[in-house]
């Protein structure tokens, strides 16, 4: 499965993000240049280009006091913020190789709507939220290299 699809799958599995408890908003993600992978779910909503598999994957992530719902984006739903980037930039964000601010400053990530939601969206990118750190803080074991 492409990392883009994996990211949205992970959000669906997570289902709840305690650090977004005070957030009630809908965020649209528009991820471009997604490389097709046979394991990807069929994309009825995505923009097909030249008969290929989806090149742009678009998802709506609804946050309701921490509860996360990921849905295919028919384009009709208004979002409080739209975050757009390439698939490789999203991978870098999820893997911690870059930060949302660096991407924004570089112009590799853009946001329309409420910019505060980009800041809070970083809590979606990171897979190890604060309350249960999965690294041994004394030895550093488990830290990404």
């Amino acid at each position: 499965m492409s990392q883009t699809h994996e990211f949205f799958e992970e959000l669906t599995r997570r289902g709840h993000e305690p650090l977004l408890q005070r957030v009630q908003a809908t965020i649209r993600f528009e991820v471009s240049d997604v490389r097709a992978d046979p394991a990807d779910p069929p994309d009825q909503d995505a923009t097909a280009t030249g008969g290929d598999r989806a090149a742009v994957v678009s998802r709506l992530v609804a946050v309701d006091h921490g509860r996360l719902t990921v849905s295919a984006d028919g384009g009709g739903t208004a979002a409080d913020a739209t975050i757009a980037c390439s698939a490789s930039e999203l991978e870098d964000l999820v893997n911690g190789r870059t930060s949302a601010m660096a991407s924004l400053l570089r112009g590799a990530l853009t946001v329309q709507g409420d910019p505060e939601l980009v800041v809070l969206a970083q809590r979606l990118f990171s897979r190890h939220p604060a309350p249960t750190p999965e690294v041994d803080v004394h030895t550093g074991e488990g830290r990404p290299s």
Binding site: P18, L19, Q21, R22, G96, T98, S99, M101, A102, L104, L105, R106, G107, A108, T110, V111, Q112, P115, E116, V118, V119, L120, Q122, R123, F125, S126, R127, H128, P129, A130, P131, P133, V135, V137, H138, R143, P144
Partner: protein, 684 residues
């Protein structure tokens, strides 16, 4: 910064020019128009018929506005005194500049007015290092405007220069106007310089579109509103009144709207090079200003809370729950050549954020914010207990993981030699400085209150209180320097006490971690001859090996440091001692026209008779600006208890009467009065 430069600013946009209004920056020269850590204009030179102008006078009308009166010719020979040129510049998002020509001659004249323009788009950090640019600059003329762009990969910045009066000619290096002036006639145009971040087809996060003050609510009316909203000070001391006014105006100039806060603003660290969000500086300044403007604290809490760390990232020294140290917006940050996106390498901003959260609620009664940010507050406590406890010994300590561009000392005394033994040796890492433990103690005591009162979690509150009590007992045992009678500056990795006598013990009083039985010994040290210079408490006692009266953190007196020491002295009931510290620093302010510098020399007051300023490029600085405000609080003994404002004055005789009217808070607005009864000279 040299005397001859004129600086104006609004938010994090500032313009540095010479006294004629001209900018001729080199890659290493600090002149120009800067916004969001990028230089958007490096050349801005006005000529008339190819000749440079001479300044007759330059007025700093306001922090965001300047006016230049110019004539042709050199300063000794006025070639043509029949022509006056007036430039008036106001900064906002970019700046606008009106240029007016006045002909004093009895006949008409025809002139060629030219503005040379160039942009180098250097990152603020590059100005110091003179690094070569990796992207490309292009220049084009579009609809009578000059557009200069810089592109590197997806990174785009541009500057557009346009004029209200169409230019006669626009070329790649400037705009030209053919001007006809009748006898005693005048002519004027207005130029606009608009910087932009990001490609034109994409909405920008940084509000740099639009030009001029008022674009984000700034300008004279807004400044008057800001001043009017602050409590009014009536005092017999003209000097204190002037210092108070100066502090309020400077604090207004230091307000800064980070990219995600909408129109809300928080205190940036200092002008002009530190017009950005710093965890520590923004929190300390918000604490100092709380009785005067609680809005700054609210924004600081929200923005820093939003940006709280959420992952383990060695490059940014980020951990889940950690509050940031510094945010930057330039090219080096964008391409991760610097870690400030944001950088989290601060060991104190996390507990201090919790301290501010509680103190803010005590004053404002804004329990909604405390409820909203409960998850962040818990994550911050969790950071203190886990990630910050590098050695598993129950103390916050620091050691950077980013060894290339990270910060070595992650406490407020962040210079290389600030943490030393009495004999001058430097300890290894990790380091657990004493004030960090005080902040952690205070944070836990305060969060326990929040948990009990607002989160309905008495079990968590009990646990925090138990941990705090345990920390206090351990701290007293592990940090106490028996033969000196004070707390050690830090613990080394193996638990050895770093035994220098420093001002940090004053912060311990502020945090309440000092054992009651030892408080008077600590107060005696702070006001004793080794630490107290007469102007204030030195960062390091004058008999320590590394003491240097003009050493950055090893002997100078910091007004901000002293304001928190005074608060600490009051907390333990040392009213006269607190008044003495306040009087010393506020007397010093008189020598700086009410604008306290970041630090001044630790020389004995009786020796120099005036405070010797530490050479620094950063003035005003937020927490120095906030210091007089906190001194007013400590002199009047203001505290928020329950629904009430407590007033318990201990005012130095020299200030006479102090009345602070309309202090905002959960009580509405209340006045406080104090009379100068503390003879600080007698105590000396």
């Amino acid at each position: 910064m040299s005397e001859g430069l004129v600086r104006i600013l609004e938010g994090n946009t500032f313009v540095v020019s010479d006294r004629r209004g001209d900018i001729e920056a080199s890659p290493t020269d600090p002149g120009g128009l800067f916004a969001w850590d990028t230089r958007f204009l490096s050349r801005w030179v006005l000529t008339v018929d190819g000749k440079r102008l001479t300044a007759l006078s330059t007025d700093d009308l306001n922090y965001y506005e300047a006016r230049f009166f110019l004539v042709l010719g050199t300063s000794t020979v006025y070639v043509n005194a029949n022509l006056t040129v007036i430039r008036q510049r106001a900064v906002g998002h970019g700046f606008r500049e009106s240029i007016t020509l006045l002909n004093h001659h009895t006949g008409p004249v025809d002139l060629r007015l030219r503005m040379d323009v160039a942009c180098d788009f250097v990152d603020l950090f590059e100005v110091k290092d003179a690094l070569a640019k990796q992207g490309t600059c292009t220049t084009r003329v579009e609809d009578g405007a000059l557009v200069i762009s810089y592109d590197r990969d997806t990174f785009h910045r541009d500057t557009t220069v346009s004029a209200s009066e169409p230019a006669s000619r626009v070329d790649e290096s400037g705009l030209e106007f053919d001007v006809h002036l009748d006898a005693h006639g005048s002519w004027s145009t207005e130029l606009y310089v608009a910087p932009r971040i990001g490609r034109p087809d994409v909405p920008s996060l940084m509000s740099v579109d639009g030009v001029g003050p008022g674009a984000d609510g700034g300008g004279p009316e807004e400044l008057e509103e800001w001043l009017a909203a602050a409590p009014r000070l009536l005092t017999d001391s003209d000097q204190l009144a002037a210092t108070y006014r100066r502090s309020l105006v400077d604090l207004a100039a230091l307000r800064f709207s980070p990219a995600i806060a909408g129109s809300r603003s928080l205190p940036a660290a200092g002008l002009p090079w530190f017009m950005t969000m710093f965890g520590r500086d923004s929190i300390f300044t918000s604490l100092q200003a709380l009785p005067f403007n609680p809005g700054l604290a609210e924004t600081t809490l929200r923005v820093l809370g939003d940006w709280q760390g959420s992952r383990v990232d060695d490059f940014r020294d980020e951990d889940p729950g950690r509050i940031l140290h510094e945010m930057r917006y330039g090219e080096l940050t964008a391409f991760q050549e610097r870690p400030h996106s944001p950088y989290y390498g601060s060991a104190d901003s996390t507990p201090l954020w919790l301290v501010l959260l509680d103190e803010y609620e005590r004053w404002s009664g804004d329990s909604g914010l405390v409820r909203e940010f409960e998850p962040e507050a818990r994550a911050a406590i969790h950071w203190i207990d886990t990630y910050a406890d590098l050695q598993g010994n129950g103390y916050i300590s620091y050691q950077r993981r980013n060894e290339q561009t990270g910060l070595e000392n992650q406490c407020w005394k962040d210079s290389w030699d600030s943490i030393s033994f009495k004999d001058g040796r430097l300890p290894g890492f990790p380091r657990a400085t004493c004030e960090l433990q005080g902040y952690a103690y205070d944070a836990k005591v305060r969060v326990a209150r929040l948990a009990r009162q607002f989160w309905d979690d008495p079990a968590y509150a009990d646990a925090l209180e138990r941990q705090a009590a345990d920390l206090k007992a351990r701290f007293d045992r592990d940090f106490w320097v028996e033969d000196g009678g004070y707390y050690a500056l830090a613990l080394e990795a193996d638990g050895t006490r770093v035994d220098a006598l420093s001002s940090n013990i004053g912060h311990l009083l502020w945090s309440g971690i000092v054992d009651d039985a030892k408080a008077s010994t600590i107060a005696a040290h702070l006001l004793g001859p080794r630490l107290f210079s007469g102007w204030g408490v030195r960062t390091l006692a004058d008999d320590q090996a590394r003491y240097n009266p003009i050493g950055y953190h090893v002997g100078t007196v910091w007004p901000f440091d002293n304001s928190f020491i005074a608060w600490g002295l009051r907390r333990y009931g040392f009213r006269e001692e607190a008044a003495r510290v306040a009087a010393g620093v506020l007397d010093a302010a008189g020598f700086f026209e009410g604008r306290l510098p970041e630090a001044f020399g630790g020389y004995e007051r009786s020796l120099t008779r005036y405070p010797v300023q530490y050479p620094t490029a950063c003035s005003p600085q937020a927490w120095s600006t906030g210091a007089p405000l906190l001194f007013l609080r400590t002199m009047l003994g203001l505290d928020a208890v329950g629904e009430h404002l407590i007033v318990d004055p201990a005012v130095p005789v020299s200030f006479g009467r102090i009345e602070l009217l309309d202090i905002p808070g959960r009580w509405g607005r209340i006045d406080a009065f104090g009379r100068g009864l503390v003879d600080v000279d007698k105590a000396r």
